[in-house]
């Protein structure tokens, strides 16, 4: 089964996106911590798509979310037709242990995404960006 949400790609979408992800996480029986990690991951990538993929490129468009669940996993798919961008190509911040004065903050959102969800993938499909977030359902059993 899949639930979907489509809305204009502006920062005002972040609230509805988080609500959509929360509802999907709740329906899949994810615990509070897993729900937070998933919500954060989708929020970070959606924020990047909206600000860098659309707004800074002078583009307008939509975000489309799908939530799929089966017995083992909950999968959130975020699609857009903004500037092509693969978040997994961003190097992980290697400065987390270095002194504050030398720290850069680039890539922190992607870092939190990759380390927050159980699986994160990017695909380029039919000239669209597709970001895929997967969480394991620990023993939840409503199929």
């Amino acid at each position: 089964m899949a639930d979907t949400l489509q809305l204009p790609a502006t920062l005002d979408a972040l609230g509805p996106i988080r609500a959509f992800v929360d509802a999907a996480a709740s329906a899949a029986g994810l615990d509070h911590k897993a729900s937070y990690r998933l919500r954060l991951a989708v929020d970070e990538i959606a924020t990047n798509v909206i600000t860098h993929g659309y707004e800074e490129a002078g583009l307008r468009g939509d975000l489309e979310l799908q939530a799929w669940r089966n017995g083992e996993t909950l999968t959130i798919i975020l699609e857009d037709d903004a500037v092509p961008f693969d978040p997994t190509t961003l190097a992980e911040p290697d400065d987390l242990g270095t002194p504050l004065e030398e720290r850069a903050v680039g890539g922190l959102g992607v870092f939190l995404t990759v380390h927050g969800v159980d699986e994160f993938r990017y695909e380029r499909v039919a000239r669209r960006n597709r970001n895929i977030f997967v969480m394991h359902r620990q023993g939840a059993d409503d199929g």
């Binding site: 609230g15 911590k33 937070y36 987390l96």
Partner: protein, 114 residues
């Protein structure tokens, strides 16, 4: 999900910002502006009380990090209070624990400035 709120009070030389709600790409700039305003007014001993915050994204971390850098370069510091477990996990993942001091509440954080 609570809406974003920010209130400010002064405990002697320390400025305490009490934040509630979600601190994300939409609301983090308001925190950043409040921190910058305090620094511009010469107040570099800052406490950010996050007890009412139920959600932070990397935008919040960037705003706080800018406040940490600005306050330290002015001879002060930015210290956190009231961090909830969910928010603490994000800070830990991002490596913030090594950078920012945390206290149970705003009074303890303010007192730590001596």
């Amino acid at each position: 999900m609570r809406s974003f709120e920010l209130t400010e009070r002064e405990l002697g030389p320390v400025t305490v910002m009490v934040v509630a709600g979600s601190v994300d790409a939409i609301t983090a700039p308001r925190l950043g502006e409040a921190l910058a305003s305090a620094l511009a007014a010469g107040r570099s001993r800052l406490v950010v009380d996050l007890v009412g915050v139920d959600y932070v994204s990397s935008a919040a971390l960037r705003a706080l990090l800018a406040g940490v850098k600005g306050s330290r370069s002015a001879g002060g510091d930015l210290r956190l209070a009231g961090v909830t477990p969910a928010v603490a996990k994000v800070f830990a993942l991002a490596g913030f624990d090594a950078i920012v001091q945390r206290f149970d509440d705003a009074e303890a954080a303010a007192a730590s400035f001596g």
